[in-house]
């Protein structure tokens, strides 16, 4: 597989799935639930396809070596490609947020915080979910890289979680007049999820490195994943008035232009996560290899 094919598989195909649907929604101003759900489903399917391609080189069992050889260029080009895509998507996102998306009639300019705040929160969920998936891979398949990958994903999740809490607090201050509302289930459950995964590092650094630590951390990461759907569905369960429900079964409660801007911002944040995740992972792997080399030379 050459580099051009990889670029097509990883970026052009997902965007080609998403953009026509977004443009259709944008021009028709939300033609209804089916169009929006269809768009989201198409985007989800394309990203599952991308995920399968990304996971294949790390597969176990017969034929995995051949697959690894087949997809070897992926490892070499994935990081610069992700970084380039992140830069391009962020440039597009900033342009759309400040020069394209209409100003909200109720909240005014401060509503534009939504375009970064919500994608950051969703990316935090993705990070924790990815960390839990890798934890499961560690316990189930005994994948040797899974423990480190789970740790890095959760680390990224805590970073995105911190940004979610900070941007959310700033938005709360301008919209509601307070930095924090303890009576809002969505806020409190996100904080619980954040603190749960922040405590993961206390557990990890209190146990000596080895199989036992990896197992304990994997079980802990898997327990936390239960909180993700609860936190995500909190608005729907509590029917909170203060924290409005933007995505309903009737589609997103916003104009097509706003939804397009939001989607590009979400892609930008997911790309940022992929870039930072791969960068940190490369650094951690290099650190481990260096330690091993030092021990061999001692």
């Amino acid at each position: 597989m050459d580099n051009l094919t990889l670029v097509i598989v990883l970026w052009v195909v997902p965007l080609a799935w998403l953009l026509p649907i977004l443009v259709a929604v944008n021009t028709a101003h939300l033609r209804g639930r089916s169009a929006v759900l269809g768009g989201l489903l198409a985007a989800l399917l394309s990203w599952i396809g991308v995920g399968i391609v990304l996971l294949l080189p790390r597969g176990q069992g017969a034929g995995s070596a051949a697959l690894h050889e087949h997809f070897a260029p992926l490892d070499r080009i994935s990081l610069p490609m992700f970084a380039g895509a992140t830069t391009a998507l962020f440039a597009a996102a900033i342009g759309l947020v400040f020069f394209y998306a209409p100003t909200d009639t109720n909240q005014g300019l401060s509503q534009r915080i939504f375009y970064f705040h919500v994608p950051i929160a969703l990316t935090a969920y993705v990070c924790f979910g990815w960390g839990a998936w890798k934890a499961l891979r560690h316990l189930w398949k005994r994948d040797p890289d899974a423990d480190l990958e789970s740790y890095v994903a959760i680390h990224q999740g805590v970073i995105f979680g911190t940004l979610t809490l900070l941007t959310g607090s700033i938005w709360a201050k301008i919209s509601w007049g307070v930095w924090w509302v303890w009576s809002d289930d969505q806020l409190v459950l996100f904080l619980v999820l954040f603190l749960f995964y922040a405590a993961y590092f206390m557990l990890r650094y209190s146990v000596e490195a080895g199989v036992q630590r990896a197992n304990m951390c994997a079980v802990y990461a898997l327990f936390g994943v239960v909180l993700i759907p609860i936190s995500f569905l909190a608005i729907r369960i509590s029917r909170s008035i203060i924290h409005p429900e933007v995505f309903t079964l009737n589609g997103p409660q916003m104009t097509g232009a706003m939804f397009l801007t939001f989607s590009v911002c979400l892609y930008a944040m997911l790309s940022l996560f992929a870039t930072l995740y791969n960068t940190e992972l490369a650094g951690k792997r290099l650190d481990l290899q260096l330690r091993e080399l030092r021990e061999l030379l001692a």
């Binding site: 909240q107 915080i113 970073i159 941007t167 080399l293």
Partner: protein, 65 residues
């Protein structure tokens, strides 16, 4: 600047400062790794040099003996 503009700017600034701080931390870690690689290269070079000296001494001793 209106309060709305100030808070919006602050929210976006927090995100960019956060990402930049993370990049700074990663950059410092990479610098540390680079230094460690340099130290290991030096160790290997010193070891090779000492092995070469030992080999020369042994050869001279054999020739004399």
């Amino acid at each position: 600047m209106t309060p709305s503009e100030k808070y919006t700017a602050a929210a976006y600034l927090v995100v960019f400062v956060g990402v930049l701080a993370y990049v700074l931390i990663i950059a410092s870690k990479l610098q540390r790794l680079q230094r460690q690689v340099g130290e290991l290269v030096e160790t290997v070079r010193d070891r090779e040099a000492s092995q070469r000296v030992e080999g020369t001494v042994e050869r001279e001793a054999t020739e004399r003996g």
